[in-house]
Symmetry: C2
Subunit: 324 residues, 2 copies
C-alpha cells in the first residue's frame, strides 16, 4: 500500500468538517481562515512509544491522549480548538491499527469540533506528533505570567489518578476493585482536556497552566513567569475515591496527586474578586474545581504544607522529566 492511499483512505474522509477550512487534506498545504478579531493559538506535542505510552497501547488510547494533550495546551491559554495537523511515524502499515486510530481521531474531531487539515505519514519508529491550532479573542489569552500575590490557586478535577493508572499498567500496583482499577487506567489512557474550563476562565483567571509533568513541577512555570511564590496546601489536593482507597496512606495519595503528572487538569490563579465568578461558572458546567492554595510575594518559593506544616517531597518523587 502506498503512502498516499493510506492517507486518503483513512484520514482525508470523515471527521468534523469546518466552514473555515478552505483547503484541507490533499494539497501541498492547508488553507484556513482565522475569524476577524481572533488570534491564532498553536501548540505541538509528540508522543513516542516506550517514552510517552507503553508498547502495545491501544491505537484508540494513543489517538485520544495525543488529542487530549494538545487540546489541554490550547485550553490552558483559554483557546478553543479549530484545526489539527497529524504526523504519523509507523514501523509498518497495520490496517487495523490505522483504522482504529483514525476512527478515534475522527470521533474526537466531531466531539471537540476541530478538523484534521493535513500532516505527514512516514515509515519509522512509532511516534506521533500533533499540531493543534485554535482561536482566542484579541487580548483574552491566559498566560503563565499574570499571577499576583494574594490570588487563589485553583485546580480542575482530581489529581494523581493517571499516575496510579500507569503504575497499575506497569504491574507496580494491584487494585482489586475492578471498577476502580478500570477508572484509574482510563484516567491514564483517556485524560479529559478541559476545553470548556479554559474558555470559561478568559478574562477571569490571572494565569493558567495544564498539569502534564506534575503539580509541583508545573507550578514552577507560573512562579517563574509571574515572578511570584506559591503556598500549596497539599492536604487540600482533590483526590478521587479510587485513588484514596487504593494507596497505602494519605501521604501516598498526596504524592501521586502532587508529582505524578499526566492528569491534564488546569491549574489556574484567580484574584479574590473573581473567585466566586469562576466557581459559579465552572460548577454550572459540572466541572469540579478546588482551591489548593494562594499566590505569595516570595518570588520563586514553592511553600508546600500539610496540615499547615512545611513539607518536602523526597527527590525520587519529582515530576516526570524527559532525559533526567
Amino acid at each position: 500500500m502506498k503512502e498516499f492511499d493510506l492517507i486518503s483512505n483513512h484520514f482525508s474522509k470523515g471527521g468534523f468538517q469546518r466552514k473555515d477550512v478552505l483547503i484541507g487534506i490533499g494539497d501541498d498545504a492547508a488553507v484556513t481562515r482565522v475569524p476577524s478579531g481572533q488570534c491564532l493559538v498553536t501548540t505541538t506535542d509528540t508522543m513516542v512509544e516506550g517514552v510517552h505510552f507503553l508498547a502495545g497501547t491501544q491505537p484508540e488510547a494513543i489517538a485520544h491522549k495525543l488529542v487530549a494533550v494538545n487540546l489541554s495546551d490550547l485550553s490552558a491559554m483559554g483557546a478553543e480548538p479549530a484545526w489539527v495537523s497529524l504526523s504519523l511515524s509507523l514501523p509498518q502499515i497495520d490496517p487495523a491499527w490505522i483504522k482504529a486510530f483514525s476512527e478515534k481521531l475522527h470521533s474526537l474531531s466531531e466531539y471537540f469540533s476541530f478538523q484534521l487539515i493535513g500532516g505527514d505519514t512516514v515509515q519509522g519508529p512509532l511516534s506521533i506528533t500533533l499540531t493543534a491550532q485554535g482561536f482566542i479573542p484579541e487580548d483574552n489569552q491566559i498566560t503563565r505570567a499574570g499571577a499576583q500575590a494574594g490570588d487563589w490557586i485553583m485546580v480542575t478535577g482530581c489529581l494523581g489518578d493517571a499516575g496510579v493508572g500507569l503504575d497499575i499498567l506497569k504491574g507496580l500496583r494491584q487494585v482489586e476493585n475492578l471498577e476502580q482499577a478500570s477508572y484509574l487506567k482510563n484516567r491514564h489512557w483517556y485524560p479529559t482536556p478541559r476545553v470548556l474550563a479554559g474558555t470559561t476562565m478568559r478574562r477571569i483567571a490571572s494565569s493558567c497552566i495544564d498539569l502534564s509533568d506534575g503539580l509541583v513541577q508545573d507550578i514552577q512555570h507560573i512562579t517563574a513567569a509571574s515572578q511570584v511564590g506559591v503556598l500549596i496546601h497539599l492536604d487540600k489536593l482533590p483526590i478521587s475515591e479510587a485513588l484514596g482507597e487504593n494507596v497505602d496512606n494519605l501521604l501516598d495519595a498526596i504524592t501521586y496527586a502532587a508529582t505524578a503528572g499526566d492528569d491534564y487538569e488546569l491549574l489556574f490563579t484567580v484574584p479574590e474578586e473573581q473567585r466566586v465568578n469562576i466557581e459559579t461558572a465552572l460548577s454550572s458546567y459540572d466541572i469540579p474545581v478546588t482551591c489548593i492554595g494562594q499566590v505569595t510575594g516570595a518570588v520563586g518559593k514553592v511553600d508546600l504544607r500539610i496540615d499547615e506544616k512545611p513539607f518536602k517531597f523526597s527527590a525520587s518523587a519529582k515530576g516526570f522529566e524527559h532525559f533526567s
Copy 2:
C-alpha cells in the same frame, strides 16, 4: 540536562522575531496574529533518520532540509512563511548537535523571516517534525486543481541533482570533479525552497506543486486534482552541467530529473496569456524557469516524450514512495 533547559538554552533565544507573535516559546501554546485579509496556510513534514536522511547527516543539513521541505510546501500554495513549530525526538542530548541544529534553524529564520514559536522535545529515535504556517491573501492560493488543457507546464531550477547527490553519498556513484561532487551533494542536503517564486506566481499560475517525490509521480497529483492530462517533453527537462557531465548518458540524466525526487523545485501550469508575465517576473528575480510540456484534455494521462516519441520508464525508476 533537563528538557526545559535544553529548550530555553537553544531554541527560545535567537532567530528572527516577528511583531505578529504575541506569545512565542515558553507558555502552554503560542499566540499569533494573522493579518486582516490574509488566510492561514499550514503544512507539516516529518524526517526520520535512515528514511529521509542518512545516519550521520550533519545537524545543519537536517535543519536546512526540514525547513526547506516545509517552506517548499507553503511556496507551492503561493504563501509566504510566518511561523514554525518544531518537534525534536532525540536519542540522547548531544549539546554540539543541538547547538549546530538550532543555530542553523535560527539563521534560516532570519533569512526567510519566520519565527520559531514553539514545539516539543522528547527522547526517542532521531526524528524531526516541523509545522510551518504562512499567509496568503484571500482567494490567492494556488492549488493542484486549477490546470486547464492548453496551459503550459513550467518548472523552476534544475531537476535530478539531489538524486545524484544522494547516490554519491551512498557510494553508488563516483564523481571525480570535486566541485561538481560538492554541488550535487549540497543539492541533496541544502535544497532551495522557492519562496519568492511561489509568491510571484499568485494569480498567474493555474496550478502548482512542489517536486518532492519526483516529477513523474508528483505531476499525477495535478492531473488527478485538475482532471486533465499532461504531455511532458523529457528532453526539455532542465539538467545542470554537473548532472549532465557525471552520468552515463542523456537517458540516465533524464531518469534522475524525472523520477529521483527531493529537488523541491516548483512545477506549475500557466495559461498561454500569462506565460510571458511569469517568465519575466521570475527572470527579474534570477529564478530559472523552463517550459517542459503542456496540459492536455486526456484526463489522467501522463504522456512522456523524448524527441517527440512516446517513452516509458522502467518500473524501478519510479519516484520515491514510503512503504513501497
